[in-house]
């Protein structure tokens, strides 16, 4: 397992949920973990929404100084450097959507390349309108790689239809996920599914709560 894990993808693909779940899973193994919310694109649904839960579990949370303040400022937290410079701790990075979000990663790239102990995972939901085909998913991947200057090392298939997701919803995308892996030569890191519908071979994840939903 690599020390640093980066989650990138099309916005709305589920990066934040996956990053939060992954950080908690590492913590459950007794590892020292920090999670950084480096989403400079979306001022709403963020890793930071899960801060109380993460901190209760003992995950250190680093987020943008203005996250959830309704101040729409794409400023990065200075503490984020500790994730790449302090090699004693595992780090999970939640990167903002698309190539725009991936620009934020650029400044950390030299450190990541020097240490060479990172995994950069592409989170894809084939039910999202701009990544419904393998070709579209590839296009977004290449845009992100171009923006941040790093190459992906694996794929997370997080295909879902929100509250209407069933195991079949997820299984129906396995062909596309395999094709994306073949086209890129990358391994399928995981197939994820909300814990109540997850079947064998899927990693069950818990969803972040959104206050206005029933």
């Amino acid at each position: 397992m690599k020390r640093v894990t980066l989650f990138c993808g099309h916005y709305g693909s589920g990066k934040t949920n996956i990053a939060v779940n992954y950080a908690l899973a590492l913590r459950e193994r007794g590892l020292d973990v920090a999670l950084a919310d480096l989403d400079i694109v979306n001022p709403y649904f963020r890793s930071k929404d899960s801060t109380p839960e993460l901190e209760r579990a003992g995950v250190k949370v680093i987020s943008l100084p203005f996250a959830n303040s309704s101040v729409d400022l794409p400023a990065l937290p200075s503490q984020a450097y500790s994730l790449v410079q302090d090699r004693s701790r595992y780090a999970v990075l939640d990167i903002g959507g698309d190539d725009r979000g991936a620009y934020a990663l650029g400044r950390f790239v030299p450190y990541l390349l020097e240490e060479d102990d990172f995994e950069m995972l592409y989170v894809v939901n084939f039910y999202r309108p701009l990544t419904t085909t393998v070709q579209e998913a590839l296009d977004v991947m290449h845009e992100i790689e171009g923006a941040c200057g790093l190459s992906f090392t694996g794929i997370v298939n997080n295909s879902n239809l929100g509250a209407e997701t069933t195991a079949q919803t997820v299984l129906a995308t396995s062909g596309k996920a395999q094709e994306l892996c073949r086209a890129t030569g990358l391994p399928l890191f995981a197939t994820t599914a909300e814990k109540s519908v997850a079947q064998e071979g899927m990693v069950p994840i818990a969803l972040q709560k959104r206050p206005f939903e029933a």
């Binding site: 309704s70 039910y127 309108p129 701009l130 879902n160 209407e164 206005f212």
Partner: protein, 358 residues
């Protein structure tokens, strides 16, 4: 209907517009509607003949809309509250020139720059004018991501049918939330536009798109003619949802995100044996006056649930014509009324109507 996809409300509007044959979009990014602009920026350059342009301001965007609408092509602009204020002059010109176009307002808290959290406080602006002169917009209020798509389609069709600008009045939650959507099938305008500026080919008299009439007699005539069309819209295009109203003794009126919270409140109150129903306007202009008026004949009171200081409540009062008490249940500035608040306000209304029986 096509296969389901998972979309943000803002994206659903954009995709539905594309499927309604809207290949021209002009806008300027503003939270919380930016995903709509971003989606159009990605998709339109890949379409045949499509144009995406990020204008230098909201004012220039709405005037680009005027230009394209003059040629009879389907066209859209979108913004959030402060940006929609900037567009008002252009909207009045569209109305005065009888041009079909779709304007999206994903509302945020105001007045002024306000904040980036959801609001419904542009209700007056959308339904009572906003710009100058005698005019109305057809105003549609989605309450789910599915309706963000469906009502966008409808907005284009109604705009063409009645030669009027139409507005999709959403809010920040509708724009940002993700839900599964069945996207509308691709379609185009079913209406001929002989008035459009498309080149005469030297075969007909040229068309003029204009809102300037220096003769007051002629200007008056255009106003009366336009109001005949508005009368037809008020007669034929009112849309609303009636929820648990059959045996209701109290009626909540709410649209958009407020209606979703209201439904949860009704579920909670019904469990306690309280007979409460919901009228959800889907068009707020034309407002479902008759439905509210009919409800007033049998319910004991109304609760208007709004993310504003109380704007729609004026239309509720006009429609129920002082027959029953109407109370406001509201939050403002980007806050959303909760189930508990709606239950509390409804119970207080019951107590005042029924003399403390509960």
């Amino acid at each position: 209907m096509s296969e389901k996809v998972l979309m943000k409300g803002n994206e659903a509007i954009a995709e539905a517009a594309l499927r309604a044959g809207c290949l021209h979009y002009f806008g300027y990014p503003i939270t919380p509607q930016t995903e709509l602009t971003a989606y159009m920026a990605k998709r339109l350059p890949k379409t045949e003949g499509g144009v995406f342009l990020q204008a230098e301001s909201e004012i220039s965007a709405i005037n680009m809309v005027y230009g394209v609408a003059s040629t009879g092509k389907r066209v859209m602009t979108s913004s959030s509250s402060p940006g929609v204020s900037l567009k008002q002059e252009g909207i009045s010109y569209l109305a005065g020139s009888d041009l079909p176009a779709v304007i999206v307002n994903v509302q945020r808290g105001g007045p002024g720059l306000g904040g980036i959290q959801p609001s419904q406080s542009d209700y007056f602006q959308a339904t009572k004018g906003g710009g100058h002169g005698d005019y109305h917009l057809i105003v549609l209020t989605p309450s789910s991501v599915q309706e963000m798509a469906d009502l966008t389609s409808l907005a284009f069709d109604l705009a063409d049918k009645y030669r009027t600008p139409a507005m999709l009045l959403a809010d920040g939650t509708m724009g940002q939330m993700m839900e599964p959507v069945e996207l509308p099938e691709p379609h185009t305008s079913a209406v001929d536009k002989p008035w459009a500026v498309t080149g005469t080919q030297m075969k007909r008299k040229h068309n003029i798109i204009n809102s300037l009439y220096l003769s007051p007699e002629v200007l008056e005539k255009t106003n009366f003619e336009r109001y005949e069309r508005y009368a037809a819209i008020e007669r034929d295009e009112v849309r609303y949802e009636s929820y648990m109203m059959d045996d209701a003794e109290y009626c909540i009126v709410a649209f958009g995100i407020a209606a979703r919270v209201a439904k949860n409140a009704i579920t909670a109150m019904r469990k306690e044996g309280m007979k409460v129903g919901l009228l959800r306007p889907i068009t707020v202009w034309p407002f479902p006056k008759d439905a509210v008026h009919e409800a007033a004949q049998k319910v004991k009171g109304f609760v208007s649930v709004e993310l504003s200081m109380g704007q729609m409540i004026e239309d509720v009062r006009l429609a129920e014509n002082c027959l029953r008490p109407v109370v406001l249940c509201n939050r403002a500035g980007g806050m959303i009324p909760g189930v508990d608040q709606i239950v509390e306000v409804t119970k207080a209304l019951m107590t005042s109507v029924e003399g403390g029986a509960r």
